[in-house]
Amino acid sequence: MDLVESYRDDLRFARKPLTWILLGMLVAGLLALPWYAHASWVVRFTVIALYAIGVMGQNILIGYTGQISFGQAGFLAIGAYTFGHLKLLGVPFFLALLGAGLTAGLAGAVVGFPSIRLKGPYLAIATLGFGIAVYQIFANSEILSGGRSGLPVPKLEPAFGLTREVYVYYIYLGLLLAFTIVTYNLVSSYVGRAFVAIRDSDIAAEVMGVNLTRYKLLAFAVSSFYTGVHGGLFAQFLGHLEPQTFNIGESLTLFVAVIVGGLASVEGSILGAAFVILVPTLLSEYRWFVPVLFGLTILLVLIFEPLGLAGRWLKSRLYFQLWPFR
């Protein structure tokens, strides 16, 4: 193992040339996906990409800052409906996406206010209440939700001679890569270290000079920005919005993805998103078994591998690096 000798070393994205090569191969493989994989897999990877963004946001909040939120479905709904309404007004895709993220981020900062005084289970309940309140507001307000028939979202027009599925896949993949790099940089910067300090002990962090109010609100705002973008991408993908989509189950799915992928891990968030998307599609004939499997996975992961899939990946990598010693 090579030691980290300077701060610059610590901030480096990948330390060895081999890592760069493998990363490049992974990205190239994903870019070439439409040429060798079935069209259904392209759609699946599109959903994984958009989910991974939301899971990363949730992970910043739960894994890095240690603040429980069960209200993610609320931010998701806010993002999705903002995006839908902006699209209907004729706002271009990326601008609408930015609007969705910013609106959700603003809502996140407001919801974050209780987090200054509340901890653990209390915060869980407050955010849960927020999620349910948002759901009911959308369900009861015809102007916001588009009435009985739901809110249609205009489809993206494909360019460069690609089919619509492949075009959407490339946009979503690009966004996922951008968000991954931003998240890596965020969590290894002083902001990320402030988040981790708050997670480990907020009183100690405050004594060390971390402004609790600012960083807790920032964590909420950033996390809900991600979730809002996730909501916008989800709205674009579905093409049709109904409030029922954003029930408490959606919050739980995001939560399961964070736990299974690994708390406080960026690559774990992507693995976790892949888990919660691929498992239900593989088990489409046994739908009732999906929650059971999610629940069992949570129990097994927390008891035997608290670091999740990312931890397993880290351990197997260490095993091969140290082989034949252990």
């Binding site: 289970p121 209390y122 927020f130 309140a133 059971v292 499997l293 629940g295 608290p306």
Partner: protein, 293 residues
Amino acid sequence: MAGVLQYTLTGLSAGSLYALVALGIVLIYRSTRVLNFAHGDTATLGTFVAFALVSQGYPFYVAFPVALLVGGVVAILFYFGVMAPAQRQGATLLGQVILTLGLALIFQGVIVYQWGAEPDRFPFPLSETKTWKLGPVFISQLSLGTFGAGLLGSLLLYLLVQKTRLGLAMRATSENLPAAQTLGIPTRRVLGVSWGVASILGVVAGLFLAPALLLDPFFMLDPFLKGFAAAVLGGLNSLPGAVVGGLILGVAESLAGGYLTIQFKNTLAFVIIIAVLLIRPEGLLGHEFKERV
């Protein structure tokens, strides 16, 4: 005036069930600091067991105790099978809360598999339509029975916690775990019993809620959240607080549903909670936790 009385009475009946759910949540929270997210689903499971037995022709006095037993045993098994090993491995509080979430998901899947997602009507010995006139207000047989069950459950729990040796051990364990261990109290067994008792209270609430609502795999979600809300209102570490919180929430909700708007009835509960949390986070009767770094 008669309207206010009527709504208050209806609210008290619903509130007594919230109180039962809240008591279960508080019982577990104050002994282990774990918020049990599987509380509602355990109650659903117990209620469905009673439903299955009644549909097969068993009388109610067989079906109900069996349902309570199933609920209690499942919770005790979960404590010894999952929670205790996790605690021994030093799982964080967040981790333990997530474990109960995992259990909730498992129960949901099993219930949907076993009984389907279609809502069923639960046959019940007390009728909702048979009413008595009590001065200016009407009270149905069901809501009277519900209120009685809530009262009886709270009373029995009070006697158990305050008047028995087991209750003394439970109080000691929740007060100071290492000290209780040092004094020779088998804390794991005591905590296991607490989980069982809490879950039985939840099943009682589920049994009395089922005839008023339709029985589907998610019917306890709403009452469970209200129970949470009630527990927070009263203070998450206070048993009398849970009862007070439940009754207040029930009455407030009923009055708001009658005089303001019925659509935001559920949202109102959470508005109250967030307000309470911001003004007095330890709840009405709870006391504040001191934290050491």
